[in-house]
């Protein structure tokens, strides 16, 4: 106490001479810089990389989307929003939008349900756990083009495995490459094959993090595995589920590889049965070399994903109950309590 007091006193008398010397040694200055700048330097590689490979292309795309762009000569003329208008008036664009959502729903919904189921099974005490856990990831390692080749042989209209079986059973063959719905089913199957294990592992990791005491307590209370799953596991998975749903939404809306390899031309079918937005974007860009339009399309897709992502987030938040309030009051009850409290405050003010 006295020490601090005296120091304050002396400082008040003659602040200048007793302060730290003005000429700071270089090493000292260096260490001060180190303190202030280093954190930024340490994280800078990411931001520099992001600026070069992330931000710049995005901005550049935005500029090009307002131009009639010649890739080879690297020049263009400014034409305003014509490219956006052109895209929004294309029937193909709307077909592509329909297909993208159809394939997205056909893949994401069953995929996430199955992935949660697989994760729940893997979470239980089974033999050779690691073997099963690793093996669900195997399809993810297969290159999408290889998946395409394999599934093409399975889904070929005449010579395909599935149709051969169907005909063998006396049923009619399914026109995989003719009917839009069936082509979407076939493509969604490829997507599910590839991503289900990946999502299952992420969900499994989240399940492993759930405190085992809850389950023990639940078992003691007499809750069966199904009741435990819905009352303990699902609520605990909320943050992970939101992550998985958002990533698979983004992936689903950007679906490209699978429809691209679904036939020999990779342009979405004769009547655009399985033309997706990215496939259309690719064709405009790399098939017709119209980069202005492709850039405008990319921005439309970006806005779409943003919108759908937000809706997704809101819906998921509402559907999956909050982790912290397990067993306590429901959302409605909390709101009711809050309203009651507010009323009281207002009455008190009066």
């Amino acid at each position: 106490m006295t020490a601090t007091d005296s120091r304050q006193a002396t400082r008040a008398d003659s602040p200048e001479p007793l302060r730290q010397p003005r000429v700071i040694s270089f090493s000292h200055r260096l260490s001060r810089w180190d303190l202030k700048l280093s954190p930024y330097l340490y994280i800078s590689p990411f931001f520099i990389m992001f600026a070069i490979v992330g931000l710049f292309p995005i901005a550049y795309t935005a500029v090009i989307s307002f131009m009639d762009w010649d890739l080879v000569r690297n020049e263009g003329t400014f034409i305003g929003i014509d490219q956006y208008v052109w895209i929004l008036t294309q029937p193909h664009f709307w077909t592509a939008l329909r297909n993208t959502f159809s394939i997205f729903l056909l893949s994401s919904v069953p995929q996430l349900i199955l992935a949660t189921f697989i994760a729940a099974v893997l979470d239980r005490n089974i033999r050779a756990k690691t073997f099963w856990r690793m093996s669900v990831l195997v399809p993810f390692v297969v290159a999408p083009v290889a998946v395409g080749l394999i599934f093409n042989a399975i889904f070929a209209d005449q010579s395909g495995l599935i149709n051969t079986w169907l005909e063998g059973l006396g049923l009619t063959a399914i026109p995989w490459h003719v009917e839009p719905f069936w082509s979407h089913v076939a493509i969604a199957t490829m997507v599910n094959y590839r991503w289900m294990g990946y999502n299952a592992l992420i969900l499994l990791a989240a399940m492993q993090a759930v405190n085992r005491d809850y389950y023990e307590a639940a078992t003691v209370d007499g809750a069966g595995p199904i009741r435990q799953f819905f009352a303990i596991t699902m609520p605990s998975l909320k943050p992970t589920l939101i992550f998985v749903i958002i990533t698979s939404t983004i992936g689903g809306l950007q679906i490209f590889d699978e429809p691209r390899v679904f036939d020999q031309f990779g342009r979405g079918g004769a009547a655009q049965q399985w033309l997706t937005i990215t496939l259309y974007l690719y064709d405009i860009g790399w098939g017709q070399w119209n980069f202005g339009r492709a850039a405008a399309m990319a921005w439309i897709l970006f806005l779409l994903i943003l919108g759908i992502g937000l809706i997704n987030l809101l819906v998921t938040r509402g559907l999956v109950r909050d982790e912290g309030r397990r067993g306590a009051a429901s959302r409605r009850q909390i709101r009711a309590q809050a309203r009651a409290a507010q009323k009281q405050v207002k009455e008190a003010q009066r």
Binding site: V72, W86, P91, T130, R133, M134, D263
Partner: protein, 423 residues
């Protein structure tokens, strides 16, 4: 107890997975490998081709022996890969010293003909007229070295023809197909008798018919006439009315189409010389294929390529020498023997290697001589403007829609008209 061992296995598996992922990622981008012209750029040239041009290592070694210039060849898997790579780098850097360009995207390239080095004056006149004309730009410069052409003949299954009561002898079969009408009649007859498809695909017939028109979708000044051109409408009508009922598939190159070729489902195909190798390769167990020296209404060309020398390359002069040598009649004859790429040089077509060539797979048909006759029968070279590919692709889709029963003839045509008016 042995959870440690398990964990270790898991670790190894995870590491392998990551490696595989990284490798898979690389292989995607690795297909369009950059030519490494760093290695002694004075005496080394790069050559970029796709599919099989017949330029074997032995052949390129001959050039090295003659000139002391090393040649490194990069082969793209498909012409589409080569196209994407070409236009990404044209006018910038990274192209090979000599680049192969396919006819389908050749007119697109011609829009940038100022970015490739012209062919020296003294080489003019070495190629077939129409081959050379297509490579001459608005300023009268010949800008590309013609490699092969695709003079179409008719490949047919002698055994199936015989079973259907048709002649199977090469010369007699050739007389069956003087016109498209005759062709479709024979086809309808065959289908009626056997209940099996006659020709492989409807769109290859469309290709054959369109390739006999003077202009298709664009006038020679590149103004668009696609939907008004009566010839196109007639071609569409013919194909939809007559080719669709006798065809096995809508288009070529599908999984089913390959399987069907191996299974010997159809009896005939329109075939340029480069198709011979594909048939022989895909259906090695099918016997009875033969080639008739005939094509409805004369001749028709399908496919073929050019070599171009990017003007901003490091060794333009040496590259021109290489392109000259590769398309020189003697080399072309060798390439034909190697890969069946039919030479576009007049002199090469007179070489004994070509005239005396027979193909054992096709019942020893004299495919060299047939090719020459078919090439001589070609009278028109369809003008293919910069948007030819888009128009034709959309029209093929229209035929496919009818074939699949998705739309009727008129609806499909009208949809095509709406679609292409947006181009």
């Amino acid at each position: 107890m042995n959870s440690r061992a398990l964990r270790r296995t898991a670790l190894i598996a995870a590491a392998a997975t990551t490696t595989a992922l990284v490798l898979a990622g690389c292989s995607n981008t690795g297909t369009t490998a950059e030519p490494d012209d760093e290695v002694d750029s004075d005496v080394s040239l790069t050559l970029a081709t796709f599919n099989d041009f017949g330029y074997t290592d032995d052949l390129l070694a001959e050039f090295t022996a003659e000139t002391g210039i090393e040649v490194v060849q990069n082969k793209a898997a498909t012409s589409n890969d080569a196209r994407a790579n070409f236009f990404q780098k044209l006018g910038k850097s990274g192209l090979a010293d000599v680049e192969a360009v396919e006819v389908d995207w050749f007119t697109e390239m011609m829009q940038y003909s100022d970015l490739v080095a012209p062919v020296p004056e003294d080489l003019k006149g070495r190629w077939l007229d129409w081959k050379e004309q297509a490579a001459t730009d608005a300023n009268g410069n010949l800008v590309a070295y013609g490699t092969d052409v695709g003079p179409q003949g008719i490949c047919y299954r002698g055994d199936l023809f015989e079973a259907a009561g048709l002649p199977s002898d090469r010369a007699e079969v050739a007389e069956l197909f003087p016109t498209w009408d005759a062709f479709f009649e024979v086809g309808a007859d065959y289908v009626e008798k056997t209940g099996k498809p006659f020709i492989d695909s409807a769109n290859s017939v469309l290709q054959g018919v369109v390739n006999q028109l003077d202009i298709a979708y664009e006038e020679t000044d590149n103004s668009i006439v696609a939907t008004e051109n009566p010839d196109i409408r007639a071609a569409y009508d013919t194909v939809v009315d007559k080719a669709v009922p006798i065809a096995a598939y809508a288009g070529q190159w599908s999984e089913d189409w390959y399987a069907s070729m191996a299974g010997g489902e159809f009896a005939a195909m329109l075939c340029p010389p480069w198709m011979h190798g594909i048939i022989a390769g895909e259906a090695p167990d099918v016997t009875g294929w033969d080639v008739a020296d005939a094509f409805p209404e004369g001749g028709g060309n399908w496919g073929g390529s050019y070599l171009v020398v990017p003007a901003n390359g490091k060794n333009v002069e040496a590259a021109q020498k290489l392109a000259d040598w590769l398309t020189d009649p003697e080399t072309q004859a060798k390439a034909f023997v190697n890969a069946g790429t039919f030479p576009s040089q007049i002199e090469a077509q007179e070489s004994a290697d070509v005239t005396g060539f027979t193909n054992p797979y096709f019942n020893d048909a004299p495919t060299g001589e047939i090719g020459i006759n078919r090439a001589n029968a070609i009278e028109v070279a369809t003008y293919k403007g910069p948007k030819y590919f888009q128009f034709h692709d959309a029209l093929q889709n229209a035929v496919t829609r009818v074939f699949d029963g998705l739309e009727d003839k008129e609806t499909s045509w009208n949809n095509w008209v709406t679609e292409v008016s947006a181009f």
